[in-house]
């Protein structure tokens, strides 16, 4: 079960809403889009909406989208679409019964002994990408991956450097974000290397879209790439505290983004995202480990199946700080819910705590959990051979057994998923082996991957193109005043390693 091209669910999806509830939420969404509308700080976008029958208040930058236009745009968006990877064997199909998993990024890395956060180095960033490239259940890369930045790199260069590292060290499908026009360089890099990218349009809940997000949308869609429309709402803070209310606001935002993409270029491939978390009412931080997210995702998946539009589920960030029981349970509910309720993508691997930290050891542990869900989604094969009635009759009652049957030698491998870091030893074996845990096995696997895995290399001209675009970005940000002379000196210094760009 290599799972390198995503998981396919072989049974009907979980239904947590009645048909009537789905329609209530849909009608609520249409009402909010038409009566309340959304705030969009971008004149060109406002004009485009107005030309297509929306009510636009330019003073308030408010767009009210009529229900008929919403329905038309939902119809124009493809229900599934290919996501081509640099390695054609890793090209994905996003939508339908497929679930594709991606990297859950973090601002920083952690010390793998103390689990305390710290800034990643260039080498740690590149090594982390290599590990993720080797893991079969990491189907694609999300933006900012795996770290939001690394030592020596000015903050404004974090996005271009992230994409460069991912293109150099992975042949999988790539998603890109936006910050300070970084999407311009992402588009240029992708075109120069000859790859597809998934761009991002991110809302500022409730119901607001700022200029940089709209610019990113125009640039990505006009370049012919696919678009991920993301929110990021916190229930009780930037969305209603009730799950149904928070589905309506998330829906309204991502559907308004989908409409913008369809108005710019009809038929644009859009992946919407349900990105919701309850608020920790003590701290104000998102309670990313909350089970409420799973039920919110399941309900949203059901609604987007009605729309026929692929849906990305809330990134599986744990509230835990170490890969422990809490971390595993927080992640397991989320990935399993996405798997059985029809989520199409999920940022999953490697987050240690929220969006603040990421580590390859965690990613390796998550690879096992992801594989288990992939196996679950395969469901139950009830073919004649799988039912094995002839074999059961042939073996009969005790003392008969199945161990020597050719059927067993074939079918156990088809049915069992074998986790690589889980401890499955007996007590005596475990004691004799030094009482090693899944963390020890995960550390070993990271080392083994780093020692042996060789990503699909770029051609020399592709490599030149990546570095050329990075230089263009550096010059642009210096001109914008976003890189100081001191920062540039430190940055150049960090590039003098004989193993640049890898360390």
């Amino acid at each position: 079960m290599p799972f390198t091209r995503g998981f396919t669910r072989r049974f009907p999806p979980l239904r947590v809403l009645s048909d009537e509830q789905v329609e209530d939420i849909h009608r609520g969404t249409l009402r909010i889009l038409w009566s309340t509308g959304v705030h969009i700080e971008h004149e060109r976008a406002l004009k485009l909406f107005e030309q297509n029958g929306c009510k636009v208040d330019y003073d308030d930058m408010r767009v009210r989208i009529p229900p008929a236009l919403v329905e038309e745009c939902l119809r124009k968006a493809p229900s599934s679409f290919p996501a081509p990877a640099r390695d054609p064997n890793k090209t994905l199909m996003i939508g339908g019964n497929n679930l594709c998993l991606a990297v859950a990024p973090g601002h920083k890395t952690v010390d793998s002994q103390t689990w305390e956060p710290r800034e990643a180095t260039r080498k740690e960033n590149y090594d982390a990408v290599r590990v993720l490239d080797a893991l079969p259940t990491v189907h694609f890369f999300s933006p900012y991956t795996p770290y939001f930045g690394f030592r020596g790199v000015p903050a404004c260069m974090a996005m271009p450097e992230s994409l460069a590292a991912r293109i150099r060290c992975s042949s999988k499908f790539q998603c890109v974000g936006f910050s300070n026009d970084s999407e311009m360089f992402a588009i240029e890099m992708a075109k120069a290397v000859g790859i597809e990218i998934l761009g991002t349009c991110a809302w500022a809940p409730p119901l607001a879209l700022y200029r940089d997000a709209v610019e990113s949308t125009f640039r990505i869609v006009e370049a012919g790439f696919c678009l991920r429309v993301v929110t990021g709402q916190v229930m009780g803070g930037t969305a209603p505290a009730s799950i149904a209310g928070a589905i309506v606001t998330n829906n309204a935002e991502v559907i308004a983004g989908l409409c913008l993409a369809q108005l710019i270029r009809p038929g644009t491939r859009v992946l919407c995202k349900d990105f919701t978390a309850p608020m920790n009412m003590n701290s104000g931080a998102p309670a990313f480990g909350g089970i409420e997210i799973a039920i919110h995702n399941a309900a949203s998946n059901q609604i987007f199946q009605r729309y026929g539009v692929p849906l990305d589920n809330t990134t599986a960030y744990p509230n835990a700080k170490v890969p422990d029981y809490q971390s595993a349970s927080e992640k397991a509910f989320r990935v399993m819910t996405a798997g059985i309720s029809g989520g199409n993508t999920l940022l999953f691997h490697g987050s240690v705590h929220g969006e603040l930290t990421h580590h390859p050891i965690q990613a390796v542990l998550d690879d096992d959990m992801a594989g288990m869900v992939g196996r679950y989604m395969e469901g139950v094969n009830t073919s004649t051979e799988a039912l094995a009635l002839d074999l059961i009759e042939q073996v009969g009652p005790v003392p008969g057994h199945f161990m020597s049957a050719p059927h067993t030698r074939k079918w156990w491998k088809l049915e069992q998923f074998l986790p690589q870091a889980a401890d499955r030893l007996t007590y005596p074996e475990w004691q004799a082996g030094g009482k090693r845990t899944c963390l020890d096995y995960a550390r070993d696997r990271v080392q083994q991957i780093l020692a042996t895995h060789k990503p699909m290399p770029l051609t020399p001209s592709q490599e030149d193109a990546v570095e050329r675009v990075l230089e263009e970005a550096r010059a642009y940000y210096v001109k914008q005043g976003l890189i100081t002379a001191d920062e540039m000196r430190e940055y150049r210094e960090s590039m003098k390693s004989p193993n640049y760009p890898y360390e």
Partner: protein
């Protein structure tokens, strides 16, 4: 009589009722109660909510509800103060906002509310605030403290930009700068020349008092 009115005002804030607190504030003005006494009653109420929050008995919606109730009464008393030319005591004045490119509001709002509970006069200038807007607010409100929030690694450098602009405009010496946000560290705050940093909202309120020398 005045004590009944002030008790009603305090109760309105403790009940998170902005209409009732505005009505009680108007009654206080009509009864000619000294605005300093009225503000003291309001601060006592919001401090009680702040203490309940810090103890874990109350939660964020209670804190923000109390702040809203207080905010609806404050302009009524401020108008009375201006009309009478009275002097009032405030712990200090703070301008607070989330930096340009960053639309995260919750942490900033929590800090603003807890600062109010500490008796600060707070001007919350919102999210996605450019350095020019921070400078404009600094000139307008002449705050003792300028507080900036940035959740994202990519937007944290905006805080440096604001501090550099304050320096360039000759405003830096007149204001203390405190910074916060999920991606920040003390090391970063030191590197950009901020006067203070704290990773939590209650800690930020205590930090503000320290910066005021209290």
């Amino acid at each position: 009589m005045s004590s009944d009115i002030l008790a009603g005002l305090k109760k309105a804030i403790l009940d998170y009722d902005p209409d009732a607190s505005a009505a009680a504030a108007r009654k206080a003005v009509e009864a000619g109660i000294n605005p300093s006494e009225t503000l003291a009653a309001m601060t006592e109420a919001i401090r009680e909510i702040g203490e309940g929050f810090n103890r874990g008995d109350l939660f964020l919606p209670d804190l923000v509800g109390g702040a809203d109730a207080m905010s609806s009464a404050t302009p009524i008393i401020q108008e009375q103060i201006q009309r009478l030319g009275a002097k009032t005591q405030s712990t200090g004045t703070v301008v607070i906002g989330t930096v340009f490119g960053d639309i995260h509001t919750i942490g900033k709002t929590m800090v603003a509310t807890l600062l109010q509970a500490e008796g600060f006069t707070v001007h919350d200038i919102g999210i996605n605030v450019t350095s020019d807007q921070f400078i404009e607010a600094t000139r307008k409100y002449k705050p003792d403290i300028l507080a900036m929030s940035a959740l994202m690694t990519m937007t944290a450098p905006e805080q440096r930009k604001v501090i550099e602009t304050l320096k360039a405009q000759g405003l830096r010496d007149g204001v203390k700068v405190m910074v916060g946000g999920g991606a920040l560290t003390q090391e970063f705050a030191d590197s950009i020349g901020a006067d203070g940093y704290d990773p939590t909202a209650p800690g930020a309120a205590r930090l503000a008092r320290r910066l005021m020398g209290r």
